[in-house]
Amino acid sequence: MLEIKDLHVAVEGKAILKGVNLTIRDGEVHVLMGPNGSGKSTLSNVLVGNPRYEVTQGSIVFNGKDLLALTPEDRAHEGIFMSFQAPTEIPGVSMTNFLRAALNAKRKYFGLEPLPAQEFLKLLREKRQLVGLDARFMNRGVNEGFSGGERKRNEIFQMAVLEPLFSILDETDSGLDVDALRTVAEGFQSLRTPQTSALVITHYQRMLDYMKPDFVHVLADGHIIRDGDVSLGYEIEEKGFEWLLQ
């Protein structure tokens, strides 16, 4: 599904990623851990084409396509979704209008007509229930006045509506209370198919429990310094990163 080779990235002239290699196959869930500032969100942002991040070297191939050559919107249509670490507020653009625009743009990309209004509203209702998001949020501006936890829940709701092939969850667990995390994680699991994959960024063991990742990677100072299975994640929870950095 995704193949990252020797990826170097700079932000405002400063090198952040210094040769990252990562391969994610269909159906796999990978967890990415690493100290604050190690470049996890940078990697996520590069995958979704955030123009603030400059790729200085390396390649990313997504389902046979040169990902770096695609616009952010085309990457989304090809099936990449990011649950933002800090989702943005868009006052005045209602959730409903926002998702209608997103969904219909994707349909257009695949030569399909816009979804009829009734079907669209039905879809929103189903997906809201899946992640436990109240109907009253639909007429509000995107994330406008949402609490931290509500924003995170809203990210997974959008993921449920857009049905991506590859999802990046950048600290989606932080900000969610215990019950909300369970609901959101169960929602996430129910969306999984043998064709979908995910890259999950987290600092916490609870997320490892819920995600049941196939692989765990540790990013430090712009390099992946360790790959392992879920036991690596638990070891980090216990011992911290220090022992890996030596």
């Binding site: 989304a76 933002f84 868009i90």
Partner: protein, 252 residues
């Protein structure tokens, strides 16, 4: 000169299209009357609107500026009767070499009146927009409440915005506020939308539409609001040039 005279206790809604040349409109609102006036400036020109409001009369004005020429709107409101209310709202959407100037003056002559100004401009290409709002509170006009909000969004590096709210207060028991902002499209919001698959042009359009959304909310009548919303959308999509919104065929 168009004279509108709103008799006591009457409630009226009017839609006015402003074309080139000079226009003068004089409005008198008798006690307890209400006028909802919705105007579209679809060609450049000079407009002067003077309004007198008697006791408890209410004027709700929404002006939409869509042309690519030069326009000057001078609005002079006198609150002459206690309890009168005026709500002045405008959205300027500039493209091409448009020059728009909105010159607003509200005089609070008696106690207990309310005035609000909400003007927003989205300026693209080489357009420029100038907003000037002056609120004058006479010494006898206690318990005046007034608010001025001017906000500009620049969507091109060549576009220019100016906003100048002014308060002149000669009474002591008043509540007057003003706020001015000038900004660009929110990059983070744009990227968020693109990540969800909304093409950049469409995302810009949604943000611009949202920016003037609260001005359009002042159109209380649903049919008129839908009409204005559609005009705004067409303008943002570049589907309006000069006067193809007119019912009468254009000279061009």
């Amino acid at each position: 000169m168009d004279n509108y005279y709103i008799p006591q206790d009457n409630h009226l809604t009017r839609f006015v299209q402003l074309h080139g040349g000079e226009d003068e409109i004089a409005l008198t609102l008798e006690p307890d009357s209400r006028l909802d006036l919705y105007c579209v400036e679809q060609e450049g020109g000079r407009r002067t609107v003077t309004v007198n409001l008697r006791e408890r009369a209410a004027l709700n004005l929404v002006v939409l500026t869509l042309h690519e020429g030069e326009s000057h709107l001078r609005l002079h409101v006198k609150l002459l009767g206690e309890g009168a209310e005026v709500s002045l709202n405008g959205a300027v959407i500039g493209s091409g070499a448009m020059k728009s100037e909105q010159d607003l003056l509200v005089e609070h002559c008696v106690p207990g009146c309310t005035s609000t100004m909400l003007f927003k401009q989205v300026l693209g290409e080489d357009s420029s927009g100038y907003l000037s709002g002056r609120v004058l509170v006479d010494s006898g006009a206690q318990q005046t409440a007034s608010e001025q909000t001017f906000a500009s969004l620049l969507t091109s590096p060549m576009a220019r915005a100016q906003a100048l709210p002014q308060l002149e207060i000669y009474a002591d028991d008043v509540k007057c506020n003003h706020g001015t902002t000038v900004g660009k499209l929110d990059e983070a919001a744009l990227f968020y939308m693109r990540q969800r698959g909304i093409p950049e042009a469409e995302a810009c359009l949604l943000l611009q539409h949202a920016f003037v959304g609260d001005v359009l909310q002042h159109i209380t009548d649903e049919a008129h609001r839908a009409r204005f919303t559609a005009l705004v959308e067409q303008k943002f999509r570049g589907q309006i040039s000069r006067c193809n919104v007119c019912k009468t065929p254009c000279k061009q």
